[in-house]
Every structure is written in structure tokens, then in C-alpha cells.
Subunit: 398 residues, 2 copies
């Protein structure tokens, strides 16, 4: 119809039928078995309410917006109010990571940043992406027309591929790491992450470190920020979010840390990313930013951590049930996900059907996250305690 | 430092020193004249508080998020809750424009959409952009590496360039129209907009219609949506926002209307844009969406319109003062901007300095919006009534 051509890369996107297919199969089963009480352990979204101090901060901020004396318009610059960037810097200081507030750029979420960051790099960049993985890394690189190399997660490496697993000859520009990982729940320890930093520095590659699940880490050997690793300021960008820490999946606030020292073609990436954001984005709601600030206050963190701990206890119940049944899995500690090998050599869709039919429990077939997920299955800890316990009783591990 | 190359198009961006230079000059003047009471008529941001029903809706929504029974996580799909898309469709119905809710895709603002929309089109697209104009159109096309053609706004065409003003031989893929216009306040009437639609249809070009200031229109001959024009569903995408209607510059909510009938390369643009948004964006805060819904309720619209009317009355005071002094201008009606010819043949920076020094009034030099603004000056109606009246007294028109 138009002269205008579309971005042809979009034609290379794979349609994801994962959640659509799950909904269809569950729907058909329920239609045939209206009495069945189905328990969903496939939810990838938080379910616990926001912390009271966060709600109170947002209600107060909304009231401020209704008063001429305290009304706020544009967040000047659109990279986050000082009060929030300073609160985030304080949160990192608690991890032993020193950041300047200018290195923190606030946004509406980690998903937006993971995709939009590619805007500032050349279209001939190549990406190294683990398989299985959060599908957004692949889709955004397809949209950008980038060459994509995969690195295999598997039982042997505990779904924590190391530089030694990179196929020979592959020299990526961008390395995606997500730890604790979605979907596997596996998390890199200090030494493993150090090996990646060293490898990236040696090859002048940049690591996009997705720390969205950092708030689930309880083991002190697991870094919650890549900047806990020496040298990371020379090779890494960290993407993080309030979605899991504070239950902000429906509130929308994230941030990206770009060290001032990072340059490409002699240009500071921090300045490029700011330019991208101030040109194509106009900041996050003042109300949301006050809520995020409250989440990082001592009282807010304590309240948020009650929810995270609730999910972690769910995860442990699932993990213990798997252990009791002798099923191999990753995650369940330091993460809200349990990534289990399907029993009896079943593939992930066959196991999905069997679990639905025999136990009335719904999970997520691993194949939805990449080829290496074909014989694995994701269970999540975001449901209610009661449902988690009942599901594990049905599955026979408890 | 990295192998990775940057997006070289970013090197072609012009640094904007406009607001920085204004701040510096005002700062120096104040340092030398600490007693001076400076009135700012350069503000491009709303200043009136949010409507009470909007604040109440957001406070209620925040409370819902703190209760397990009413908590909401991800806005499924990230294109806006049904309740808001239906409210927007209702708002358009009030303009006589029928939209399907699926044609409305909610986002965090018109600025984001104006930039991100380019993602779904080919990198060799060419854009036709009015001069003067909101700088984001130019910058985002520079970032995308597009060829940019300008179309001149001038005193002769009332800063409303028509297809007849397109330079010979220019056949753009994308045409940017902003009406009512930022910075000129000029607005296309039905006939003028009809000529653009016809021209676009004849050339198979797409119009990006920026309707951010639609709520200021009081003249029934001025369309508030391009879809009031016959044929526009075959050639236009409309970008709109709650920023000016409801004072949401600090709350962040906008939307883009992509008719289902639009296709390029045989692909529905609505589907491409949805794919872009669901992959690189995760929706707008539930709290914000409830606020936006409230703004479109009968009571909300009435309250929001009180603020818009306040600004329009400011605009009229400025426009009347210009008329009384015999100064040529556009805007002042159906818009919060007055775009005046600088007196005495001064260029816009010389007039800026003179106005600051002689009258202690600050405006925005037209040159900041393009070459054709060199002898023009933007005054805005977003200040307080008192300041607007005093500024016009000082400027001698009242």
C-alpha cells in the first residue's frame, strides 16, 4: 500500500505460540473435565501485593500531583529524579558496589532497556545468547538484524554456560548473561562470573547483564550485580528492575547502569544511552518513582523482602519435592524458578500434557525457551503457598 | 574500547543548546541584577495540578495494588488495559471518529511512540518534516539514518505548509504533521488537512499525525483527529497523549492509533507495531491507566477542561496583546503557544536578550525549532494568570 518498506528483519521473527498453546490445552482439558481443580505453577509474574510503604508513598505522590504547590511536570531529562537515582546508588552501596548517580538511568522496565539499548549500537553487531533464555534477547536482536550465536546450557554445565562453552571461532560483540536465570533459576557464582568478565575484557566484548532476579539471591557467593566483579566496569552494562524486588510488574520501573568508563568508537556509551533516552523517552511517572524510592528505604526493603522470602519458601518446597523424587533440576535456591528434567525421558510438551491430565498441574514446557529446553520443564514459585504445597502433594514428592 | 561499533547515525545528531543557553543567559542576567523579577513565558510544560477525579482514581488504584485480592501484575500484552482502550475509543466517538479498541495501542507517551514507530520501517525511509518543528521528529530520523526533507513554514503560509510547499521532486515515505502545532500554535483546518490526506494517498506516503495538543481546539473547523478526514484511515497513524489534556507530563501516558487497514509490503502495520511494543515494552502502570481512564470520564473531562481553558485564556491575553501592538503571530487560539514575529527586525536571540534585559520576560527563540524560526519567538500560556498579565503589561500591549 505504501512506498514505505517495513523493517524486513521483523519477517524473521518467530511467532511464539508457547503461552497461547498452553492456554488452549488447559482450556480443552477444563472443557472436558469441568470438575478438575487445576493448579498453575507456570506463572512468570508476581502475585503478592505491593508493600504498604510503597502504596503509601504512591498515594502521597498522587495527592502531591493534585496540588498546585507540589505538582510535577516533566522529569527533567527523563533519566530519573535525583532522589531515586541516589536511592539506587545507596542500594548498590549496600552490595559493596560504588556507583555515581549519573551512571544509573531510570526507565519503565528492564524489558524496554534490554531492547532499546541495541539502538545505540551498529546494525552489524553480533550477539552471544544462551539457550535456553528469556525470549526477548533473541527477538530484539532479530529485529535489529544482528547475527546471533547461541551458547548451550545443558545438564553438564548446570545450565550455566561458561566461556569454555562458546563455539570455536565465535567472537561476539555482545554477550547476554541473566543471573539468577529465567527460565532455569541457575545463578553464576563469583568465580564463574569472573571468568565471563575476563573473557569479555580479553575480546573487547560487552556484557549485557540482566540482574532482574537479583533480589532472590540469599547465598553470599552469588553476586547480585556484575559490578561486584573486578574489571566489570570495563566491559558490562547492567539491566535491573523493581519488578521482582518490589512486585512492580504492573507499576513499571527499571534502570540500567552504564559505567562512565565504557566507550565504543571513542564515544561514551553512557552519553549515547542518555541521548537515546532523552530523545525517545520522557521519563517515568513521578508517582512510580516515589514508590520505587520507598521500596529501597529500610522499611520498604524489609516489607518487599517478606514477599521475596515467601516466594523463596515456595521455591524450596518445590525443590525439596524434586530432590525427594530424585529429579534433576536447577534453581529453587536464589531464584523463583525450578527447571526440572522431565521424568521418564518425556519431552517437555508430552510432560506438560501428562502433568495436566494426571495431576491437574500446569507448568511451562522448556522448549518454549529454546531448543535445549526440549526435555526440561519450568515450575515457578509465584503462586500461593497452599497451591504450591498441594501441587507437590499431587506430584508425589511430599 | 569494544569491537562493537556504535550506531554511526548518532554522530550526525546536533547537540541542542537551546534550553541550556537560555538557562545560562537568564542565570548571568540574574547574577548581575539580583533584584529583577523575571517572568518565564518559555515553559513548554503544564503547571496546573491534576484533576481531582484523576488523583482519586490513582490513589484508589495504588490501594488496590496493596491488596492481594485486587493486585495486578503485567498488563497482559502491554498494549493497554481494555478499560482504557475502550475509554479512548469512547473519547474518539465523541469526535465522530469510530475506532476499534484494537486500533489503539497505549504507551508511556507520544514522545516514545513518535520515536519508536520508526523501528518497524526500513532504514532507507525518507521523511518530510516541517521547519520549524518539535525537534524530536528530526532527531529520531537522524538516529534511524533516514533521508530528511524539510518543508518551509513561513509568514506567507501562516506556518501551515501545504502540499504545494513541498519542494519539487521530493517524494517522502513519511510525512510529519503536528496540529495544533508546537511551536507555532497554528492548526490546520478541515480543508487544509484534507489536502494533505489526498496528497499522501496519491503518493502512497504515510502521515504521522501528532495530535498531542488536540484538547486545546475550540474551533469546530479545526479537526482534533486526522481520522475526521475522509481517507485518512488509508494513510495515517495518529500519535496522541494525556500530557496536555490531563496534565500528564509527569504521569506518562499516551497512545497511538494505527488503523487495521494500513499495510506496507503486505504486512499490517498495526500488527508490526504491536509486535514491537509487546517485545520491547511491558505496558503502562495500572495506576496511571486508571488515572487516564478517569480523565476521560464525563466528570474527569470537565475537570481537565478547566485547566485547558485556563491556559487558553492565558493564550488569549497574550494574543490580544500582540494584536494591540500590531505584531504578526500565529497560535493563541486552539493552542497554548503564540509564535510572534520579533519586533524591529531582530533575530530571535537578539530579541530574547532584549526582552530579558528590558522587560525581564523570558521566552523561547524560534531558531531553536529550525532555520525558519530565526526571526520568530515562542511564548507559552502554561504560566500563572498573574504572570501572563504582568508580562503583557511589561511588554506594553495591555
Amino acid at each position: 500500500m505504501f512506498h514505505l518498506k517495513i523493517n524486513q528483519n521483523y519477517l524473521n521473527l518467530q511467532e511464539s505460540y508457547l503461552f497461547k498453546t498452553i492456554a488452549q490445552r488447559v482450556g480443552s482439558y477444563k472443557a472436558e473435565n469441568p470438575e478438575a481443580e487445576i493448579i498453575r505453577l507456570g506463572i512468570g509474574d508476581v502475585t503478592r501485593p505491593l508493600a504498604p510503604v510503597v502504596v503509601e508513598a504512591m498515594r502521597r505522590a498522587a495527592a502531591e500531583m493534585g496540588d498546585a504547590a507540589t505538582f510535577r511536570g516533566y522529569d527533567d531529562g527523563g533519566v530519573g529524579y535525583d532522589f531515586l537515582r541516589e536511592a539506587i546508588a545507596g542500594y548498590y552501596a549496600g552490595k559493596g558496589v560504588e556507583l555515581e548517580p549519573d551512571e544509573i538511568i531510570v526507565s519503565d522496565g528492564a524489558k524496554s532497556d534490554a531492547g532499546n539499548l541495541l539502538d545505540v549500537f551498529a546494525p552489524d553487531a553480533s550477539a552471544l545468547i544462551p539457550d535456553p533464555v528469556y525470549p526477548v534477547y533473541v527477538d530484539t536482536n532479530v529485529m535489529a538484524g544482528h547475527a546471533i550465536h547461541y551458547i548451550d546450557g545443558c545438564e553438564q554445565n548446570g545450565f550455566l554456560p561458561s566461556p569454555g562453552d562458546v563455539p570455536p571461532g565465535v567472537e561476539p560483540d555482545i554477550i547476554y548473561l541473566c543471573s539468577p536465570n529465567n527460565p532455569t533459576g541457575a545463578a553464576y557464582n563469583r568465580e564463574q562470573l569472573g571468568a565471563w568478565v575476563e573473557w569479555a575484557l580479553g575480546r573487547r566484548a560487552v556484557i549485557f547483564f540482566d540482574a532482574a532476579y537479583e533480589s532472590f539471591v540469599r547465598d553470599r557467593e552469588i553476586p547480585t550485580s556484575i559490578f561486584e566483579i573486578e574489571g566489570a566496569r570495563g566491559c558490562a552494562i547492567e539491566i535491573c528492575s523493581f519488578s521482582k524486588l518490589a512486585g512492580f510488574t504492573g507499576v513499571r520501573c527499571g534502570y540500567t547502569v552504564v559505567p562512565r568508563s565504557l566507550t565504543a568508537d571513542g564515544v561514551k556509551i553512557n552519553a549515547l544511552w542518555r541521548r537515546r533516552q532523552t530523545t525517545k523517552f520522557n521519563g517515568v511517572s513521578y508517582i512510580t518513582q516515589r514508590g520505587a524510592e520507598a521500596a529501597l528505604s529500610p522499611k520498604g526493603l524489609a516489607q518487599c523482602m517478606e514477599n521475596v522470602t515467601y516466594y523463596l519458601e515456595n521455591a524450596k518446597i518445590i525443590a525439596d519435592a524434586m530432590s525427594a523424587r530424585g529429579i534433576w533440576f536447577t534453581g529453587g535456591l536464589n531464584a523463583p524458578y525450578i527447571w526440572m528434567r522431565c521424568p521418564d525421558g518425556l519431552d517437555s510438551w508430552a510432560y506438560f500434557d501428562k502433568l495436566l491430565r494426571d495431576k491437574n498441574v500446569v507448568g511451562t514446557p522448556g522448549e518454549g525457551f529454546g531448543e535445549n529446553g526440549k526435555y526440561f520443564f519450568r515450575l515457578t514459585a509465584f503462586g500461593s503457598r497452599e497451591n504450591v504445597v498441594r501441587a507437590m502433594e499431587r506430584m508425589g514428592g511430599r
